[in-house]
Each structure stands twice: as structure tokens, then as C-alpha cells.
């Protein structure tokens, strides 16, 4: 079994107007794939993000906003366990995300 991270992308505007309660579609997704789910969170709106960037002098600069400017922003994630990429993609296709998701294998420490 391998671990995969499902990054959930949303339109920036949708992410900003996200409600307080868990969307019933997500509730249903989590129930259906409970056995594969290792964890997951929903994030607050992008406007609440803060970025820390390393500069050339070895210092850091702290700025308001997200690391990369983009129309679609990360709105949350699920960490899952699956036999292979096909099994992971089957689960990821069920995520009721606005824009879509990105599936990344989790690197195993050796």
C-alpha cells in the first residue's frame, strides 16, 4: 500500500465564500472512503494566508497572501492509502471539489 495526498483546488472566489459547515457532499465522500482515509482538512480562505520566503542572504521575508498567484487555490487536502495510482485516482475522482484535485504520492522516509 502507498500513501497519496489529494490536494483540493477551488476557484479563489469560491474559496473565499466557503461556508462554516461541512458540505454534505464531502461528508458523503468521507463516509464512502472511510477505510482509505488517513486524514484531511479544509482550509480557511486564501486571504488569511501568510507566506514566508527564504531570501539569498539566508534570512526570510514574511508577506501577506499565498505562495503562488493562481486562479485556483488549495482549499484543503485528504491523505489516503491506496494499492496503486489507479486505486488512488478512483478515490480522488469522487472528491466533490470545485475546480479539481491533484494527486501526489507521499515520499517515504528511508
Amino acid at each position: 500500500m502507498s500513501k497519496y495526498l489529494i490536494l483540493i483546488f477551488q476557484d479563489e472566489s469560491a474559496a473565499q465564500s466557503a461556508g462554516e459547515t461541512v458540505n454534505p457532499a464531502y461528508r458523503e465522500f468521507m463516509d464512502r472512503h472511510a477505510s482509505a482515509l488517513l486524514g484531511g482538512v479544509a482550509l480557511e480562505s486564501p486571504a488569511t494566508g501568510t507566506s514566508i520566503r527564504r531570501d539569498d542572504d539566508g534570512g526570510v521575508s514574511v508577506t501577506d497572501g499565498l505562495f503562488a498567484e493562481s486562479k485556483e487555490v488549495v482549499g484543503g487536502y485528504f491523505l489516503i492509502e491506496a494499492a496503486d495510482l489507479d486505486a488512488a485516482l478512483e478515490i480522488a475522482k469522487d472528491v466533490p471539489a470545485g475546480a479539481g484535485v491533484e494527486v501526489r504520492p507521499v515520499r517515504l522516509a528511508s
Binding site: 502507498s2 491506496a82 494499492a83 496503486d84 495510482l85 489507479d86 488512488a88 485516482l89 494527486v103 504520492p105
Partner: protein
């Protein structure tokens, strides 16, 4: 020295046998070795070593009766050696329990004992998690056994660029866990469609070669043809596979008539139909009938059916354009693509008239996806010429010449333009 001649002749014979086995057995040997090695890179190294040892061993002991089985056994043994060596290197790590590699089946020399894993290899190479260009490159490298240099040449990129792309793809397969298996019945349809697209792309890249001075890099077209035949052998009951093979066979049947003795492109209109391969046409039309049995028929079956109407027509003027237009209508229903609409418009020009086709083509010209597509400009030029609108036709030909990067097609368009100038 007469004694020297005989081993030399023998070694030439062995080299030819190894080359032949490379061409015919590479995919089978590699696919069977991946199953044992559990990793494409290790398998490739083992298969390359097996081919190298075949040169020496076959020279000393004679060419085996079943070269594919010999090579598979040798490659699988070598893969296990490589895995054991890796395991030994890892033994320095504390308390790491290495699973015993599976024992080599000494009876595996019998060809029947080796399962055919080529289909699994095809589906791994054509996995949708890989970019289409990468799928084509991996298919040429792993299924067809082309060297990285040859794959790079086919894509017109420098060899190190292609080597890096293939390495990255193999790393993704291993790291992301792209499975090595034939998808189950539920996923098979869409996944097979991806495989067929890749094989079709290999064939058309060789057939039309939208680049360079060579109209037909024959090797790529032949590899595409072989892949279509391999899929047909592995999935004999699939109508879409039959459709793809039909399309390839019916296009190949006209191959010899496509260029004249000077190497210039000849339009189907002007081709010497006695040079069309009747055996290929017979095989292709039988396959088309089988492919069309699917409801609704797939896109390759419909494209093949269109090719079959041309192939069976005794002359250009006798072409059944109504039938072709009807097939394009069906194709446009299942495949929303501006290129399909373009070809349908051309058929409309012959079935109904150039004015009706021009309305369609002008409408298509607004599609940004076709903005740099030379065949749209060429089709407009042809319809305008037939309507007697020479000035506009000339502009459209000039646009088409600028947009195409295929030297043979450029020459063809220039000749059309010159003919216009001399007759107007």
C-alpha cells in the same frame, strides 16, 4: 585465409538472428521480465544484457529454436541477479528483512510457460497520468525497442532531452505507483481508447510526418502498423481494435501511389489506382465490417469505413461522396473535433458543392484551434479555386504554404499555385 570465412559467416548469421529477435521479441521479453523484476529500469537493463549475451552464446552453441523463450529466460535470470546484488548491497542496513526473490523456473524455457505480459506493458506506457507525448515516446522505446536516439529523432528533439523525458516517465511510473496490469472491464474502454490513440499517433506521425524533408519516415509508420497488429492479436474480439487496424491497413494499401518517382506528393484524385494494394484493401474491408458491428461504431471504425469507400472506388469521379458525408456526420456525432468538421466540410464540397463547403470552412476559420492549421487554408484555396475566385484562392494557397512545415506538402501547394497562375 579460407578458415576465417566460416566463423565470419556464422557470426553474421548470429548477428542477423539477434537483430531479428530484437525486432520481433523485444516487447515480449521485456514485458515478461518486468513481471519478475517489478521495475521497468531493472528489466530493461536485464533485457539489454540478455541480447548482448545472445550474440556470444548463440555464436558458440548455435541459435536456439525459440529465440524469444531463450532471451526471456536469460533476461529473467539476469533481473534476479540484479535484484540479489541490490539486496546484498542493502544488507549493511540493520534488521532489514529482504523477501527472497522468487525462484527461477527452470522449465520456463517452454514458451507456453511464459505468460504474455505485453498488454500490461502497453497499458502502463499509455497511462493517462503520463503526458501524451511521453506515452508515445515510452511506447516506441519499450514496446518497439527503438533506441532513445531514434525516439529523439522521431520527435525532432536532442537525444539528451528525450533521455531525460524517458527517465522522468519511468521514475513517475515507479514513484507514483502506476500499476503494471491490464485495467479491469470497468475501466478498459476509456483506457483502451487512449492506447489506440497512441498507436494511431505513431502511425500517422510516420505516415504524414508534419516536419522535415521526408514525407514518410517509413520506420515509424511500420512500427505503428505492427503495434496495431499486436493489439489485434492480443484483443481479437474488440471492435475498436479491429477499427484501428482496418484504418491502418486501408491507408497502407494506398501507400505506393502516394508519392511519384520524383518523390512528390500525389493527391488521391491523381493517384494511379492500379498501384493500390488489393490484398490490403480486402483485409481492411473485412476488418471494417467487423468493427462497424459495435453500436454505436467507434471513431476508428468510422474513419476506416471512410478510407474503405475511397479504396473500393474504381476512380476519383466514381467516389460515393454521399456515403462519405454520411460517415463524417456519424463521426462528428461521437467525436467533437474541429479537424473532423474540416474533413466533413471537404466531403460536403464534393457531395453538394464548393459554395456550401466554403460556408462551413469560413465558419471553422473562426476556431482558434485551427488558426495555424495548414489543411484548413489548403481546403479553402481548393474550394475558392473551384468557384473561380482566383485572387482569394491564391492568398489561401500562400497562407497554407507558410503554415505547413512539411517540404513535400509545400512543394505540392506551390505546384498548385503555379498551375493557377499559368491558367488564369
Amino acid at each position: 585465409m579460407p578458415e576465417g570465412a566460416s566463423p565470419k559467416a556464422a557470426s553474421a548469421e548470429v548477428a542477423a538472428a539477434v537483430a531479428e529477435a530484437h525486432r520481433r521479441e523485444w516487447a515480449f521479453v521485456l514485458a515478461a521480465t518486468v513481471r519478475v523484476a517489478g521495475d521497468i529500469d531493472t528489466a530493461e537493463e536485464a533485457v539489454q544484457d540478455a541480447y548482448a549475451s545472445a550474440l556470444a552464446t548463440w555464436g558458440a552453441r548455435g541459435i536456439p529454436s525459440n529465440p524469444g523463450a531463450w532471451l526471456t529466460t536469460a533476461a529473467r535470470r539476469r533481473a534476479l541477479d540484479l535484484l540479489r546484488r541490490e539486496a546484498t548491497a542493502r544488507r549493511a542496513l540493520p534488521k532489514l528483512v529482504e523477501p527472497e526473490p522468487p525462484p527461477v523456473d527452470e522449465q520456463a524455457d517452454a514458451a507456453a510457460a511464459i505468460p504474455d505480459d505485453r498488454l500490461a506493458l502497453i497499458f502502463t506506457c499509455c497511462h493517462p497520468a503520463l503526458a501524451v507525448d511521453t506515452q508515445v515516446a515510452l511506447t516506441l522505446r519499450l514496446l518497439c525497442g527503438l533506441s532513445t536516439a531514434d525516439v529523439a529523432r522521431a520527435f525532432l528533439v536532442p537525444e539528451p532531452t528525450m533521455a531525460a523525458r524517458i527517465t522522468r516517465a519511468k521514475k513517475k511510473i515507479a514513484t507514483a505507483g502506476i500499476p503494471y496490469r491490464v485495467p479491469d472491464a470497468r475501466e478498459l474502454g476509456p483506457r483502451l481508447d487512449g492506447v489506440l490513440s497512441v498507436v494511431h499517433l505513431v502511425y500517422t506521425t510516420g505516415h504524414t510526418a508534419p516536419f522535415g524533408a521526408d514525407l514518410m519516415p517509413r520506420d515509424l509508420a511500420e512500427r505503428g502498423h505492427e503495434l496495431a497488429r499486436l493489439l489485434r492479436a492480443l484483443l481479437p474480439d474488440d471492435p475498436d481494435v479491429a477499427g484501428l487496424l482496418a484504418l491502418v491497413v486501408l491507408t497502407e494499401a494506398r501507400r505506393d501511389a502516394r508519392v511519384d518517382t520524383a518523390g512528390d506528393l500525389v493527391l488521391m484524385e491523381d493517384q494511379d489506382r492500379s498501384r493500390w494494394n488489393q490484398r490490403g484493401i480486402a483485409e481492411g474491408t473485412t476488418l471494417v465490417r467487423e468493427a462497424l458491428r459495435a453500436r454505436p461504431p467507434g471513431r476508428f471504425a468510422l474513419m476506416a469505413a471512410i478510407a474503405a469507400v475511397h479504396d473500393e472506388s474504381p476512380s476519383w469521379s466514381a467516389t460515393d461522396w454521399g456515403e462519405i458525408l454520411g460517415l463524417y456526420d456519424l463521426l462528428a456525432e461521437i467525436w467533437v473535433s474541429p479537424v473532423v468538421r474540416l474533413n466533413r466540410a471537404i466531403a460536403l464540397g464534393f457531395a453538394v458543392g464548393p459554395a456550401e463547403a466554403l460556408v462551413e470552412l469560413d465558419d471553422l476559420a473562426a476556431d482558434p484551434r485551427l488558426a495555424r492549421y495548414p489543411y484548413l487554408a489548403a481546403a479553402r484555396a481548393d474550394m475558392l479555386q473551384r468557384l473561380g475566385r482566383s485572387r482569394e484562392a491564391r492568398l489561401a494557397y500562400e497562407e497554407a504554404i507558410i503554415l505547413t512545415d512539411n517540404a513535400a506538402e509545400q512543394d505540392f501547394l506551390r505546384r498548385r499555385l503555379e498551375t493557377m497562375d499559368s491558367t488564369s
